[in-house]
Amino acid sequence: MDLAELLEISEKERRKKKPLEIHCCVAASCVSSNSQSIKDKLTEILRNQNLADKVDVIGVGCLGLCSKGPLLRNSQSGEFYCNVSLDNVEEILKDLKGEKCRIEKISPDDPFYKKQMHIVLENSGKIDPESIESYIANGGYITLYQVLHEMTPQEVIEEITKSGLRGRGGAGYPTGLKWSLVAKSVAEKKFVVCNADEGDPGAFMDRSVLESDPHKIIEGMTIAAYAVGAQQGYIYIRGEYPLAISRLQTAIRQAKKYGLLGSQIFEANFDFKIDLRIGAGAFVCGEETALMQSIEGKRGTPYPRPPYPAEYGLWGYPTLINNVETFANVVPIIRNGSEWFSKIGTENSKGTKVFALAGKIARTGLIEVPMGTTLREIVEEIGGGVPNKGKIKAIQTGGPSGGCIPASKLDTPVDYESLIELGSMMGSGGMIVMDENTNMVEVAKFFMEFSKDESCGKCIPCRAGTYEIHNILSKILNGEATQYDFEKLKLLCKMVKETSLCGLGQSAPNPVLSTIMNFEDEYLSLLKEDI
């Protein structure tokens, strides 16, 4: 493959385009509501009406507003057709003919879409995730060509560093710094790993990106491999995501066929190969040392750092581990320049963040907003607030490692530091809205049950500590706990947080600590008198 060939594929694909396209969401949420058959039926209707040469029906990745799925979009007007079913799909045809259509339509100017900014999701809902040509026609792989022919590895790392990008997996470690550490390590082999073991309950950003735009991750990883000097990559993906797995397999196969993975990519002296590793149901494998153990075919138990993976990772070789969303930012940053990226967001948190909005909220779905957007804008304007005029009580971010932010703090701008100040964390981007009827102690118990079940059992504070915390929470909820138990709970949380071996244990008490911090009254009201 050379540049001319790439441009030819792009040109050919663009010529094939029909004046009007109906984009039909074929990401997991809409697929679970039958979008695949809707797509087939619409295609058939158009063919029967002899419209097939004017209108094309294309399966695309996530269109965002999952709660109104199955979603379809008209490429000319940009309007979205909501809650489409096999029974009302003919209505879309009426709309195309300018007749009155009885399907709910949402305009792209709706606050749900208007307030967003798409960098990670730039191709989501626009391209066919199962076609590499579709990705190339949208400017795909050009950035990789430029990197390989016009930039040195050092320059790539400098661009990423200057952009201010921080890891989107949760901790927010500066990406450029991580890359330069791996680049500096001297070894005969190096690895690049994409952490797609998105395990937080209520989070589906990475799944959506992989289902909607798999080539962007492959291109981002390949650029990273060039920058740090790696020859082999792994994508470690949750086994719970069969659709994302099959799309990635397709994407890797297509990239290999075009010579965009393999040896001498774009005729440069650079080889890179990507293999998939499928998780088998263990939350702790999202922790990087456990993830590496799992890639090596072992029990996914974490081990102490240092040494960090950048020095001593997979099979003892330097390894770069970034999460899906981090890799998805690489291509746009290199293409548009670090200066462009660093202008978006806040002083210490650059760019955008993808959130999965779920829970008691009118519009659930996938959104991407610039860092610094306030929680209020996200849940009230984009999410439409609690349905039936209910009131928001708290927002849970960061999954079982995060915490609950009370409604009084809704005007906080979203960035890494401000969420930590509120006792929560950015996490990978799950955002669950809870209304007034939610019992916060029960929420804390729900997360503790999760952490307890997912503890690997290696270190005692996590193995037995989460069990005891869960026990005390049950006692409190049953009205059997006293002030003494409550004090014990607080001490135990502090101890588990400070002494556990890995991130899972260290952050497991956060849901309890943050609910104590913000909703202590609820705990106190459940305690019984000391005898």
Partner: protein, 166 residues
């Protein structure tokens, strides 16, 4: 890939065929010990569960200590050392589904079948299990019936589905 064989009385021919697939997976992974998890995935898909014989076979082919293979097979939720039911039903217990009442759906199901999550009905018809978020939070509460995700489940839809199976 062949689905799990449902009836217990299987002909030797079928067994051989599945072993052929397992061998192909072993070969594809060059019999590398670090491919253990991939091989366990394949075996679980082929046989529906990991029997002692299957584990011993993998142990021998990958040249690994048996305790290590057993340790890995029991660490991950996906692998089952016991046979599963003819139909499986996985209730998502992720936060979004939980907030929307997944726990009630599960207890309804448990009551109806008179088994607990993680168990199989005595007649081997239905297994129920829970998952820690299947990532379709937009359509919560969601349940996976035999690998098909179903959105917006209610007590009625759940019981209807179970009745279809029984």
């Amino acid at each position: 890939m062949e689905p799990a064989v449902k009836n217990k009385t299987k002909s030797t021919e079928q067994t051989d065929n599945r072993l052929k697939f397992l061998n192909a997976a072993l070969k594809k992974n060059l019999y590398q010990p670090d491919a253990l998890i991939e091989i366990l995935h394949t075996a679980q898909e082929l046989f529906g569960y990991l029997s002692r014989e299957t584990l011993e076979y993998i142990t021998r082919e990958l040249k690994l200590p048996p305790s290590k293979v057993y340790g890995v097979a029991t660490f991950y939720n996906f692998f089952s050392l016991k046979p599963k039911g003819e139909h499986t039903c996985i209730v998502c217990m992720g936060t979004a589904c939980y907030v929307k009442g997944a726990a009630e759906l599960l207890s309804e199901m448990e009551k109806f079948l008179n088994i607990k999550a993680g168990e199989t009905t005595p007649d081997g018809k239905v297994s129920i299990a829970t998952a820690r978020c299947i990532g379709t939070c937009g359509s919560a509460p969601a349940i996976i019936y035999d690998n098909q995700v179903a959105a917006y489940q209610t007590k009625e839809t759940v019981i209807k589905k179970l009745k279809e199976w029984l």
